[in-house]
Each structure stands twice: as C-alpha cells, then as structure tokens.
C-alpha cells in the first residue's frame, strides 16, 4: 500500500516557467488536499477536492490550479512561477469520515529563481 505519492521530490524553476506537481493516492479516499509549508509557518491550504470532478479554493489559491479527473489523482499546476511560490508542497488525502485525519505525501521542495 503506497499511500500518497508525490512527484517530483525536488524541482528548481525559473521565474515565469510552469510545472505540474503530481499526486496519486491508492486508498480510494474521496478527499484530497494541497498544502504549502513555508519555514516557521503552518501548513496553508491551496486547493482541495471532495471527489472526482469537484475542486475548491483554499486559503492561498492564487497562482495555482488543480483538476480532479479521477479519484486517485490530484495534480497541482503552477503557471508563471514566482519566487513567492518557493516552498514545500504537500498533498494529502483522507477518508470521508474525519477519523485519523490526513495521510500525507512526502512533499515536493520547489525553488523558484
């Protein structure tokens, strides 16, 4: 059981470039989330999805887009990368009930230069 898998683990982007952070889960969870974690700050929600075809903005959605075509996959798209998007990005999923909270991926460390 792989849980939540994120790729890539590390990436350096130049300002203005675009990329997609991949996230896949094999637990048949309906709920999926993208967070960013900056040094000394808590996890901030970017986007979330409660099921295939349904997405919604979180606390810090500007500069990002998501899609949810399948239950398993929840990619995060960065368009026109900016230095402010330098961060560690975590994908997470959970079952419909709240018990045990999230299962997190191992993260993607992104640097925009």
């Amino acid at each position: 059981n792989a849980g939540v898998t994120q790729t890539p683990k590390f990436r350096i982007l130049k300002i203005g470039q675009s990329m997609t952070l991949q996230c896949t889960q094999d637990m048949n969870h309906n709920y999926m989330y993208w967070y960013r974690q900056d040094p000394g700050m808590g996890l901030k929600l970017i986007y979330y999805s409660v099921g295939a075809g349904i997405t919604d903005k979180g606390e810090v959605p500007n500069g990002y887009n998501v899609s949810r075509s399948t239950t398993e996959d929840f990619p995060l798209r960065l368009e026109l990368a900016a230095p402010s998007q330098t961060s560690v990005y975590f994908c997470a999923s959970r079952q419909t009930t709240r018990g045990l909270g999230y299962t997190f991926g191992s993260g993607t460390r992104l640097t925009v230069v």
């Binding site: 939540v4 040094p39 000394g40 700050m41 808590g42 996890l43 975590f90 997470a92 909270g101 997190f104």
Partner: protein, 113 residues
Amino acid sequence: GESVGLHLPTLSVQEGDNSIINCAYSNSASDYFIWYKQESGKGPQFIIDIRSNMDKRQGQRVTVLLNKTVKHLSLQIAATQPGDSAVYLCAENLENTGNQFYFGTGTSLTVIP
C-alpha cells in the same frame, strides 16, 4: 507553545525525560484535534487524536490533553527517545463546517542523547 510567525518554537529534552508540547488552537467550536509528527524531509504523520467530548486520551508513550476552556492542547511524550526528534504539529477541525484541518506552526523537539 505554537504561534504564528517565522520562528518555530523549540524544545530540547534529555533522552529518557518526559516531553510536553503545547498548542493554542484558534476556534472554540472545533471538536476534533490531531497531533502530527513531521520528521525532517517528510510529510506529517498521525500520532494521536482526541474529540472535544474528552479531556485526555492515551496512546503508546503519548498522551493528549485538551482544555477547552482556554483552547489549549498538549502532547506528552513519556521517556523521550532520539527517534522522537521532529516537528510536532497540532491540527483542529470542526465537523460540517468545512473539509479541512487547520494547522499550528509546530514545535521543534530535539532529544539530547
């Protein structure tokens, strides 16, 4: 305890001692709480949870205490081991008002051998 800002609260303890990590949560109506452990370079992992109808819950070497009067959560780790060195995050949730958990900034625990 945890706070918003650029400096992560830190706690250093001797191996074998007990550790107490504190968290002030934000929403007095939150009814479910989780403690996560985040090791360097990894995603957060579930440690223990507690619902608002409880004051205390015990796991293996860990105890969570909830004081709803002052919106305070604590995590006690008994006989702290070097493998306990990590950042500890508290998260809160309110059923039926949203799908996300809200995270504190975390406390960095260092265990001195």
